[in-house]
Symmetry: D2
Subunit: 338 residues, 4 copies
Amino acid sequence: MIIVMKAESTKKDIDHVLDSVEKAGLKGVLLQGTNRNVIAIIGDERVVPKDFWDVLPGVEKSVPILAPYKLASKEGKDFKTIIHFNNGKKIGGDHIAVIAGPCAIESKEQIIEIAKRVRDAGATALRGGAFKPRSNPYTFQGLKEEGLVHLARAREVSGLPIVTEVLTPEHVKLVSKYSDILQIGTRNMQNFLLLRAVGESGKPVILKRGMSATIEEFLLAAEYILAQNNPNVILCERGIRTFETHTRFTLSLSIVPQLKEMTHLPIIVDPSHGTGKRSLINPMSKGSIAVGADGLLIETHPEPEKSFVDGPQTITLESFDELMQELKPVAEAVGRKI
Amino acid sequence: MIIVMKAESTKKDIDHVLDSVEKAGLKGVLLQGTNRNVIAIIGDERVVPKDFWDVLPGVEKSVPILAPYKLASKEGKDFKTIIHFNNGKKIGGDHIAVIAGPCAIESKEQIIEIAKRVRDAGATALRGGAFKPRSNPYTFQGLKEEGLVHLARAREVSGLPIVTEVLTPEHVKLVSKYSDILQIGTRNMQNFLLLRAVGESGKPVILKRGMSATIEEFLLAAEYILAQNNPNVILCERGIRTFETHTRFTLSLSIVPQLKEMTHLPIIVDPSHGTGKRSLINPMSKGSIAVGADGLLIETHPEPEKSFVDGPQTITLESFDELMQELKPVAEAVGRKI
Amino acid sequence: MIIVMKAESTKKDIDHVLDSVEKAGLKGVLLQGTNRNVIAIIGDERVVPKDFWDVLPGVEKSVPILAPYKLASKEGKDFKTIIHFNNGKKIGGDHIAVIAGPCAIESKEQIIEIAKRVRDAGATALRGGAFKPRSNPYTFQGLKEEGLVHLARAREVSGLPIVTEVLTPEHVKLVSKYSDILQIGTRNMQNFLLLRAVGESGKPVILKRGMSATIEEFLLAAEYILAQNNPNVILCERGIRTFETHTRFTLSLSIVPQLKEMTHLPIIVDPSHGTGKRSLINPMSKGSIAVGADGLLIETHPEPEKSFVDGPQTITLESFDELMQELKPVAEAVGRKI
Amino acid sequence: MIIVMKAESTKKDIDHVLDSVEKAGLKGVLLQGTNRNVIAIIGDERVVPKDFWDVLPGVEKSVPILAPYKLASKEGKDFKTIIHFNNGKKIGGDHIAVIAGPCAIESKEQIIEIAKRVRDAGATALRGGAFKPRSNPYTFQGLKEEGLVHLARAREVSGLPIVTEVLTPEHVKLVSKYSDILQIGTRNMQNFLLLRAVGESGKPVILKRGMSATIEEFLLAAEYILAQNNPNVILCERGIRTFETHTRFTLSLSIVPQLKEMTHLPIIVDPSHGTGKRSLINPMSKGSIAVGADGLLIETHPEPEKSFVDGPQTITLESFDELMQELKPVAEAVGRKI
């Protein structure tokens, strides 16, 4: 931590900061500059929240040197996290993982049909929503446990691991009973009780970036899960909120290579929610792989027009087949396989 | 709903849309323009989600005519919502309500001292956090139920209604046992299960705007609560996330008069979280009242330097006294009382 | 400047940075931390751009200690800038300055009528656009020099100083011939040749904040003008671009008290462009004054419905009269006069 | 145009709107809905600015049906714009164009060396800045005309067409004398006098997106140039300003396929400014091509550490060679050549 003192700060202010540093078990070094005095803290600054220093009299600002997350950080680690499933599938590593399926599970027949089709097209896992968080209280909210039963049946039939979203700590036990991977939605990225609960479940977790979360907040959310001794976190960029309205969100692909510099966790991209537009899913999927993503999360439905939820951002099963074919050469062009 | 057809849409596309309109029990009128065909839907368009139309072949875009929320809307209502408490205090109406207290409850003594002091300075209600959602998993997370007990004791001593945040549907029952008002934090504005649970509790709810929520999403979140037959929702602007970093968030005061044109619900402002800076709380409180806010939510602490949480945005009890004195003439200048 | 070295940086990297610091005539102090080495630079770091350090091998990041603007900074200055006009009017100081007039000058009669009316209502200066930057190439672009002549005539008749926008360095001479105050629009805040030209003109300048400019960029733009020995810069907040679309821009009122902590320059607010909505101008004007603004820029027109430009954000002359009456008690409530 | 009337609008309001529609030479159709009356305008609505309708009494909002730009629109056009140069190079079409060079021209030797190296690596054109818009008034501002002379000499030696930025209408003539392509920087995207001047020059123009410009504003800026009978506009995404600060801007790659649906103009991407980080240029270049961009703008310098400007986002000539090699398979994977 570097503490910059105000131009008008007094010796008393400086001594007070130095005292506080010492009380925290750290070492402070005073640097007397031409225009400002600066106190550098030696030791692991993360034992004291940044806020603490900002509040002391005479302090202009404090600048952290170390990232506030430790387990999610690449620093001091020489591995990349890879998540393995019973059937030999995995997320992370050389292969690109493609997770596909409908936004909402609508019936057993629907989810089984989709499961077989996406498996045949080369998907790694099947996704489907049983509990749907909808911004409008008057719209379809999901089949709930019945949906989970259908999803598990689709796993049996297709052999694909399954992914579904969990909305609240209370549901974690129930959803864990059925699902191979738990998904945390963008609106829950900072639902800290839920993060703790999925951490404790021990299940692999797809953590979607909050639509206005900074990279640091994103990695701190992952840290919550990792801190429960659950090492299996998959980060997912799904678009951020900006002034641009032609797409529903702005898919920030540069976060992918940026995260690869900061963390050992795998990073996937959701171009369906990230754009909200069917016609952009194919090019943005290619772009995601080209920038180095470890996988994709794609909404597919036999008849998007008749889907209960998110039709405009859902592609048909035929389009999904085509997409998988077209992704292959892109993956190879960047030294990956799909 | 207005449905704009693509320039290249066919008669078949148009007929398909008109059919779908009819099937939904609505009436469609085709307008043949010079460059585009447009279908206007007559009837309550809210029976069909906007998404549905966007997915149909040949549709360029659909434009809703009516707001998707009904209960929160001012339209067709000739009252303003006012929330009354047992002790004669209220939120909404002519008086400005000021809710003050520490970010986190730290001890019984602390919260009782603060309660008495803010009451004497003229506060309407006391706030204090028992469950703290923190972005860093390694920091203080609140006293939990013990904190609620202290808070309830402070109510007894001070006579002030009390406000505290609830984080998850599981906690609603427990928190409702103690608190007069439930608060939904910015990170939970779209935690729909929680919105439903606080709706069902029947307790008045302070709903904080999500840090990247549009006005429409904000009112839809209120609608979730109202839809449970709980009419007592207080909207709270607490800063949005923008590119500006000198303040922690950008406090969007124009939302206050804008909301007053759209809803009958009271609107308060939280300048503490909205700026993250102690020195800005006084001027932004005055600004909030001048633009027409119905109240303020202010973090106060006897010694912000020693507070466990949010020190930089907390003012001392002395500053709070001063602020209350200075707010009086501003309130009067805009025809309100404090 | 604080230079944080990467965890994996070598002794050679550190020596190279220390050498570079010395070559720049500064002094470097190496601090060996537990997890990172940090080099603190003693001396006026502004002689070397921040970028320079970030590029050196082994550098993780560099953190400036001093603001990059000097003349605009409050630091080391014990005055507030006040701009005086021939007729005794001024901007800055205790009085609130209100600058009013139409977006575009449409005719001599129009601007003279408006001038008299806004003067009688208590305005400090008259504004009117002669050159109009319009985002659509097919719309009205202003009366150009003819407009300036009308505007100057309105000054004679009303006695009010006049303000008009200048779009390009070539126009500065011409516009300076007529106008008392030059205005730089939001789209030109970083038109550095124009900033230099208005600086050289010696005329007072209203500098509008770029719609996506940070506070630092805003003050650096002011610095461009000040660096030409032109001390008369008036900062103007006019709304920033955010995800919110109910208002055209988001008027960031917290920038007003924030700027007051950083600079000696006066700060005014433009609620007309900042909201784009007639109905919000009155409350946001009150809010601007309550947070400490030194003035307002208001679009007024006898018949907004018939104005060539910006009708939706323009108030009538009657509404302006009313607004001026209602602003008085607000100004008094915060110890100012209008 | 669709005009939505307020719930409380009167028959007089409606008649007034219908009259105004007729006076504008258009036809209005009144649709009486259950909750709102709506007036649909038949005819080319672009003869009246949208603003006009919003101002009329009783109007709630107006919704344009047609895009406000015509020349830039793909609608009714069956070609894609391709820009050809004397030496057989081109921008647009099947080949990916790569424009490379230093941010600022520093000397004749420097620019000639770079020209030869980037040509040998396969670049389409050479870029170099002679006039540098810098946000800090105390930093290097470019070699000006001397730089242009060097750049033209580099063209002679390398055979590459040259690109340089023009800052103000006054410079257009001078810069056009030397440069094959004029570049409009992000801060000038809405400098309408400059847009007109480069339009009149007849030279091909690279138009960089404003850092907070919507897609519509971007295409309207292109329209300004096109409206001067200059058909040769190349759009360039260079990052937008969002809340994210790990990269300098957020490179919005989804704008590329989105623009391809809206316009016939070629679209290139500038990953150097768009990320501000050397390490991200390679992956984001690949991503740009994968999403369908027609080209790239890359900052290269023999020794970024010694470059006068933008060192942190500049890659070495060796990295550029490597990048060009790695881009080839990506281009082929999406059916393009480089």
